[in-house]
Subunit: 335 residues, 2 copies
């Protein structure tokens, strides 16, 4: 009776093809299937600027439990998680709208703190929150939709990766997943101690890499944000581009943060596994030519041509071994 | 501990003022407080076209019960309810995005029917659905965000009503509220019989008045969609414009549909009360000068200047009596 997220997405992609969007007489450059929608609107964009527009959910019991997060945490996470798709396209944010469903535990004090933090997020990211809608419900849910604009020649799609590109990572991975594990083991709003602090913060207060994404526009060939785990997201980029994304295990291990490694050591966790499979990082995964690599990008692999005996996909390389990456992260806080 | 929708809105309005939107260096003409956000984006709109952007929720247990609606009904209602804010601004739709949370009762068959109906809605309204996001959750929820564009000189705000304007209603009111009462009394997906049919259909399949809204742009002074009941919405228009909106009881009664009157008669309901207090009509309430009234607009009252002893607000006039209108509709299917 029930349906998986992937099966649902397949149905939607099948039922809502690009064809009918084009039939509307307006040019939808990217609809379903990338980080955000990309619209060419004749009258609105004569100077080759295009709109980038995304929507994302941050829902109690799916993305977080009430006892894990202060109202400021919820506001911050919802805002930055949605915003993250804008730099993932090489775009700059224009504005955001918020659909807010308030569960029975929301008090006026809670909402005030929430709203103040959303204002803070809007100010620090130059993304004015220009409206939204409020509903009362059984649980608290924040749906954020964000518009951005981008020079049409510099937009970064998942499908742009080219053989011989380097694979770049911008930001941290695995840290938020470690924070999530801590919260699943012991629900708390405490900020933690030692190496826990950075991990809990990465989960509760991810940061959309707005300026990095904008700078990547003229440098990279492809980009996406890492929200479902590096393994799964690298696979999606590979499939969209029709290439092989080969991650170097040593390269990935070299960029893991000290906090993640310390915490993994003390808890008996596998830091590499967390980096590959942990979700909600909101780092950027990009590919581009070596000579254009910006200083903030860390090299974790390379793009190779697919062909006979070399299928499209994401792989992890270690010495002479090469294994296909699979799996990924599904939002289910209780598991 | 819990908070009302109005109290929540007040907090948000207080915390998220227009000032900081303006501080971003982009011009936000209308943020929180009207039907949709209105953006002037220098590079995107040199020809005085502006973006109109809205978000709306259609959630199980808040806006509908599972046993009331086919998947096609849910798809249609969610899409048109969100879209309705675009003609309410005198704008034309550009595109829509959908955040879909799937509850445990959603099957692949359900979702296929849902998606096909959304495609149908997109095609018939020329509003391509260009993407979205999927989440799994405890109940099914559809959040739709819609972009539109409008000539900056023809945008219709709630605040534009002028003394001596006529008050126009476009579309039906009260019918959806009657449909809701039927469903609350007896949950069913049946299409009904006799006068029930039109009322159930009005609740399950409201129609955003896309072409009417666009035509109103150069004719009307103010416009909004009627979703929380005519009484409440007329009051909001009056307050935003700083005027008195005086509805003629005879004028309102004259436009009630035969289906509504028949059903009210057979059920012992007050049709006028349903027209004033019933929600989810998605009709358009506009004001404008008599000489510009389009043929599809029905006159139901007049706009008067407020002043000493004549407070701002919405009123119902009948013969020599005049009473202030209050109340309105809050989405709570179980009550």
């Amino acid at each position: 009776m029930t349906i998986s997220e992937d099966a649902a997405l397949r149905i939607l992609k099948r039922t809502l093809p690009r064809a009918y969007s084009a039939a509307s007489g307006r040019k939808v450059r990217v609809g379903i299937g990338d980080d955000a929608a990309l619209l060419s609107h004749g009258q609105l964009s004569p100077s080759r600027q295009e709109l980038v527009w995304t929507v994302d959910a941050c829902e109690e019991d799916t993305h977080f439990l009430w006892q894990w997060m202060t109202p400021e945490d919820v506001a911050h996470k919802a805002f930055h998680a949605a915003l993250s798709d804008i730099p993932a396209m090489g775009a700059a944010p224009v504005a955001a709208l918020c659909q807010l469903t308030l569960g029975p535990r929301v008090s006026a004090a809670w909402l005030s703190k929430f709203a103040e933090q959303q204002r803070e997020c809007a100010l620090t990211t130059s993304t004015p929150l220009v409206g939204g809608n409020i509903t009362l419900g059984e649980s608290t849910r924040v749906i954020t939709t964000v518009l951005g604009s981008v020079d049409a020649r510099r937009v970064l799609l998942r499908s742009g990766a080219k053989p011989k590109d380097e694979v770049w990572l911008i930001g941290q991975i695995g840290v938020a997943g470690a924070g999530l594990r801590l919260l699943q083991a012991r629900p708390t709003r405490s900020r933690g101690r030692g190496s826990q602090v950075a991990c809990l913060e990465a989960f509760r207060r991810p940061r959309a890499l707005v300026s990095e994404g904008k700078k990547l526009g003229p440098l990279a060939h492809a980009c996406m944000d890492v929200s479902d785990g590096l393994a799964r997201d690298a696979g999606q980029l590979a499939e969209a581009s029709g290439v092989r994304v080969v991650l170097e295990q040593a390269g990935v291990e070299a960029i893991l943060s000290e906090s993640l490694k310390d915490l993994a050591r003390s808890q008996g966790w596998d830091a590499l596994h967390l980096a590959l499979q942990g979700g909600e990082d909101y780092a950027l995964l990009a590919t581009g030519p070596k000579e254009k690599r910006p200083r903030f990008a860390q090299v974790i692999g390379r793009v190779e041509q697919a062909g006979r005996g070399s299928p499209v996909g994401a792989f992890l390389s270690s010495g002479t071994s090469l294994r296909a990456l699979a799996g990924g992260f599904v939002h289910r806080p209780r598991k």
